[in-house]
């Protein structure tokens, strides 16, 4: 991996990354991928090639959509943890230009 590839991935992950760090990270990710590459040599039988869902022992658990929280029951405690808020609403910068 090179610096530019790391920057592209960091972009997808919404991470600011300096030139210096992406350079260093490229080497580290390369060595990790070098280690991981051994899974390519694992032999998968036809049976093992089934989708992972087929083999999962834990499945989706559903419940009735009922008994909702009372309106505003948890608002204050949650809004208190929001970095930027106004009138019990989460505040973010505008995303559409005039």
């Amino acid at each position: 991996m090179n610096k530019e590839e790391i920057k592209k991935i960091a972009d997808l992950a919404r991470l600011e990354i300096s030139d210096e760090e992406s350079e260093k990270m490229a080497g580290e990710i390369d060595s990790i991928l070098g280690y991981i590459d051994q899974i390519k040599s694992a032999e998968i039988s036809d049976q093992g090639a089934e989708s992972r869902i087929e083999n999962a022992s834990v499945r989706n658990v559903m419940r009735e959509d009922s008994e909702p929280h009372k309106v505003s029951e948890n608002t204050k405690v949650l809004i208190d943890e929001v970095p930027d808020s106004q009138d019990d609403l989460v505040k973010v910068k505008k995303i559409l230009n005039n």
């Binding site: 960091a10 991470l15 990354i17 990270m25 990790i32 280690y35 083999n55």
Partner: protein, 473 residues
């Protein structure tokens, strides 16, 4: 009175017979925490201890005490307690206050224990040494030049330094067992889904589980029985079917091919001694062939970062925690995540995003899941022949602070622990003897090692059976 190294049972006796009060007990531990503050184990002790003490003592006086009433406990900094700061040792959550109790905390609170405080860890549980904490490294109480292991390093060190009766940790790839081994204590990673993760900060959701770090196996069993159980708030929890059989353990299997490379010689010698001891106790030790175990770590380092990259998306400076201002909304995301998440967390996000990205997900992520299934099947087959699989917990004893600089050498410390998480099976690390080493001043130190026992799904009772016998004989 000597209050050192109290187990749950012993503490219960002392409290119930009024030989010691809850306050005296808490004062003892607060004194210990103060004396050992250089080790940097506790991030914080809570300010409401007096209220907790009063409540617990009242319950004891009224004859209403249950297993954990008045028992002082330390909690890993990634498990939510309502009204208490919980940061996962990350700058991004530095001032975050828990908005509800994790299910494990609610279950503990039914007993009115003493929640002493929160203990150090690797940021968001990512690491094997507690060096990745925004609060600085925790030092190993056995040799302060060394790491306590991780990511539940604070929890294990708190037990080794005798700062509480037991602690909770979390284990995604060995984060309870490896620090337990490095600190010479007992750590249980329960069956995936046996303990609710509601209120645990997610790291690798198909792997994470909460478990106890304790002074012996009996304590691990007591705590596990209290925190386990199906929870409507965590749809991955399962119905526990463990206790209805309780068959006697006879055969213990050892996948010897897996031990051929990358293990310290003295760790292997200790492991053989532990096996000899098990043999003397009447267990039959048999060799197992489990060739796919060799892929465990590689599979883990695909699946775990993939899940990390998804779970970490929530730390965007909008919903909770801290925020670094950018020019626009997306600029807020980039700056907050770039500046407030530590380097190991960012490395795993990038690795995870890469293995999931178009063009690579078949090669890495999907293939890793197929191999994960092979590993799971390999355990299923092994458990047709034996009751328990034994491995060393870690290929080395505790290493020195700053010793492992490149990520791969740090990751290799997990080589024997990740397979239990991949297969979802329960595993325990119990003390497995010591190896001799030297500290920087040339003094001899005996470093603890761990013996890891792995059982089939929901068969924690088998681990407890062997662990308890091993401690008494």
């Amino acid at each position: 009175m000597d209050l050192s190294n109290l187990t749950i049972k012993k503490t219960r006796e002392l409290l119930d017979s009024k030989k010691v009060s809850v306050k005296e007990l808490v004062d003892y531990y607060l004194g210990r925490i103060e004396e050992t503050s250089d080790l940097n184990i506790f991030i914080e002790t809570y300010s409401d201890l007096n209220d907790q003490i009063e409540k617990a003592q009242q319950k004891i006086n009224d004859g209403e005490a249950s297993d954990l009433t008045g028992i002082p406990i330390a909690i890993k900094d990634n498990i939510l307690i309502k009204g208490k700061k919980t940061s996962a040792a990350s700058k991004v959550l530095e001032d975050y206050v828990g908005t509800y109790d994790a299910t494990v905390i609610s279950k503990l609170k039914e007993h009115s224990p003493i929640l002493l405080g929160r203990v150090n860890m690797d940021e968001f549980a990512m690491g094997g040494s507690t060096e990745n904490s925004s609060y600085g490294v925790t030092k190993n109480p056995i040799d302060p030049e060394r790491v306590p292991g991780g990511s539940s390093g604070g929890s294990a060190a708190a037990i080794a330094a005798d700062l509480c009766v037991f602690a909770l940790g979390s284990d995604t790839g060995g984060s309870i067992r490896q620090p337990a081994s490095f600190c010479g204590v007992t750590g249980l990673k329960p069956t995936y889904g046996s303990v609710s993760r509601h209120g645990l900060m997610a790291m690798g959701s198909s792997l994470d589980v909460i478990g106890p770090i304790t002074k012996n196996t009996e304590d691990a069993e007591i705590v596990f029985n209290i925190i386990k159980g199906q929870d409507p708030k965590d749809s991955t929890t399962i119905n526990d079917k463990s206790s209805d059989e309780n068959k006697e353990v006879k055969k213990i299997g050892v996948p010897r091919d897996f031990l051929k490379e990358g293990v310290d010689k003295d760790i292997l010698e200790n492991f053989e001694k532990s096996l000899d001891k098990l043999k003397e106790q009447g267990y039959e030790i048999v060799d197992l062939e489990m060739p796919d175990l060799a892929y465990s770590l590689a599979v883990y380092y695909v699946i775990m970062p993939a899940e990390v990259s998804s779970n970490m998306a929530r730390y965007d400076g909008v919903k909770y925690g801290k925020k670094v201002e950018g020019e626009d909304l997306i600029g807020d995301y980039f700056k907050t995540r770039g500046q407030l998440l530590g380097s190991e967390v960012r490395r795993r996000i990038i690795l995870g995003t890469y293995v999931l990205s178009a063009g690579y997900s078949d090669e890495y992520y999907n293939k890793a899941w197929q191999v994960r299934n092979l590993i799971k099947q390999e355990f299923d087959k092994a458990f047709e022949k034996v009751d328990i699989v034994a491995l060393p917990t870690s290929p080395t004893p505790a290493f020195k602070i700053g010793e492992k600089e490149d990520p791969v050498s740090m990751y290799l410390a997990d080589i024997f622990t990740v397979s239990a998480n991949l297969a979802g099976v329960p595993a325990i690390s119990i003390p497995g003897g010591t190896v001799s080493s030297e500290n920087n001043s040339g003094e001899k130190v005996d470093l603890p090692t761990g013996l890891q026992l792995i059982a089939p799904h929901s068969k924690e009772d088998k681990l407890f059976q062997v662990g308890k016998k091993n401690e008494t004989e």
